[in-house]
Subunit: 207 residues, 4 copies
């Protein structure tokens, strides 16, 4: 089985992205899953185009996209993606959509098809804080999550997919003007691996 694991390049003035850094630390195989990694641009449109190309190339059984959520204290698997782009800051290509749908022909929202509670339990079992989040924001993270679920629904209906936000890395917290929570890159990588293990068990059990 295959899992497509995506991170993002840095954005919003940051020089690193903890999702990108942590991805490099995640093994290429977890249980029965081959892990295929992609780093996506923080850009409306092209981010979804790149993840769709990877879906078509690899036809994975599961997709886990990971992104930075500055200010969060825990790893937060996301419950839902909204059909709305509404950016408070420009993306890395200078685009800043306001109240636009991700796909004009899509539903208002997609719920994740990943096993949320099992992922949280697995991260807890690894000794790391995690909680289900009910909002992925309306920037490129939500955009990619919606795009993945839209394309899975249309092109790979048997596959499951979703998104997980991670805190700042400590070196990012150093550079913020106000105190910010953070999590070490090693721990973020361990949380991602724990979540993937839960996904692997879920896929194996439903066979």
């Amino acid at each position: 089985m295959k899992l497509l694991l995506t991170g993002f390049e840095p954005f919003g003035g940051e020089t690193i992205n903890p999702a990108q850094e942590a991805l490099a630390l995640v093994s290429d195989r977890i249980g029965a899953l081959e892990i295929i990694k992609r780093i996506l641009p923080v850009a409306f449109g092209t981010s979804i185009a790149e993840v769709r190309a990877a879906l078509r190339e690899h036809r994975p059984d599961a997709v886990l996209c990971v992104g930075q959520a500055g200010g969060r204290m825990e790893v937060t698997p996301e419950r839902v993606a909204l059909n709305l782009n509404d950016a408070r800051i420009p993306d890395n290509k200078g685009n800043q959509p306001v109240d636009e749908p991700v796909f004009a022909d899509g539903p208002a929202a997609y719920f994740t098809t990943l096993p949320l509670r099992e992922m949280v339990a697995a991260i807890h079992a690894a000794g790391l804080p995690a909680r289900v989040s009910n909002t992925a924001g309306l920037f490129v993270c939500n955009h990619v999550m919606y795009g993945v679920l839209y394309h899975l629904a249309h092109e790979l209906p048997g596959a499951i997919g979703g998104f997980m936000h991670v805190p700042y890395a400590p070196e990012q917290a150093v550079r913020q003007s106000a105190p910010q929570p953070s999590m070490s890159k090693n721990d973020i990588a361990r949380a991602i691996a724990a979540a993937i293990s839960a996904i692997e068990r879920h896929l194996t059990a439903r066979r």
Copy 2:
């Protein structure tokens, strides 16, 4: 030269104390400093008695006490200790003093004699978030910081001393009902070592 490094046993319903866990990961020698470690009880009175016994036994050049501050996002060297015990919860021996002085014959406060800004800069250089704190609370942490500075003033006036708070470890954050910031034990240990390096440079420079 010698540095006395203290941590605390767990308290307040926790099963670990990140200061205690991190101390075990700190080297026994940092630059020209021999590191002497002690774990103190979370108890008014006996905590100071134990640290005073260690001062008399080892006559260190510097003292760095480390304690847990649940809810903090950063490592926070403390600026000042107040001559006041005012506990919101009982200590590990069941004592809960209200508005009592630490030492009836002591001044209202002692400022730390550690090089605060150099310690923060050294922790930042290690890629970890840190900030000077202006309150060590009024529980056993402040109590020990005041006691150390009181006894150094009376018995080892050439030595320097102070306190540093550290966040929850991630496994503690897992067990809180609300989201809490945390820092890995490895990173806490690295922050302590970085702070001690700054102290070592300060001691070496003033010789």
Copy 3:
């Protein structure tokens, strides 16, 4: 024209609900709008049944439901309601659904049809803090918001509707163990009136 304005009874151990208290302070007429007020039970199912009965009785042009969001610092008009009930605490009838749809035949989400940005701007113009929220939670507030938008879509497709969360009242913050933000009942009532004025201008302009 008519606007149905709903609040809630107290829940979660509170003795008051700031939405209920503030509703009593809102005028019965704002511009061209007659204001019809209802206090809903904090209960899955019956809350929607009661609001549906009011929709059928009064056939309003707009619906604004207001609820308490302890911990929020601002008045927060909600962008979206999810088709999911997932309660961390029991409702006032002891029910605590986990991952159940609000309506099995409904879409994953409804976006509000109220003029969000105009509402926020009107509250700001009244000197009060406000911000669009992207999550109404998954308790009875989201449940009612979803139910209103579902029933408006089916029975009153020309009407607009949505939800607005408000902070704790100060007297509630007094009784919490940790510091909590709050807003005076007078100011909450002023924020509701400002939001309704924005809705009234929106309804008038589209005629």
Copy 4:
């Protein structure tokens, strides 16, 4: 009996100061206390000079200084003033002292001589959130609190004095980029009046 009640002019880019606004709403007589009001400049040195002039002119029985603490959720009577000026931003005259004593011949700290717990209880009884704070910062608020206690100790040893921080007013929260807690000016004035009533009872009881 007389109480000197001080507020501050706006600072740090704000156009109002909630302490100044609230002072105007506080009665000129509370129980047996005549209330004498002064608005102080947000400036190191001159702020203390002005409050000292008022002490000499009016020889009050009690002094309550009030200042803005953006970010706080509650009214917070301060426990202690430190003999240290350490400003993160320039004061209104452009001065920004770093690690300087307030008075070179003063002790490290003064504890407030106001009845802290009675003040908090009185504010709670008025339905408003309050809590004792253990740090008044190291900007002009702490500076004035230290200066008042220093001058009372030297010139009016029978008088009592201290400081109380208050949250942003709502109209200030509107203009911040991130969500901020606030309290209405009316409620801040009610909290100040409640605190003064507690001081009045304390003064009357000790006669």
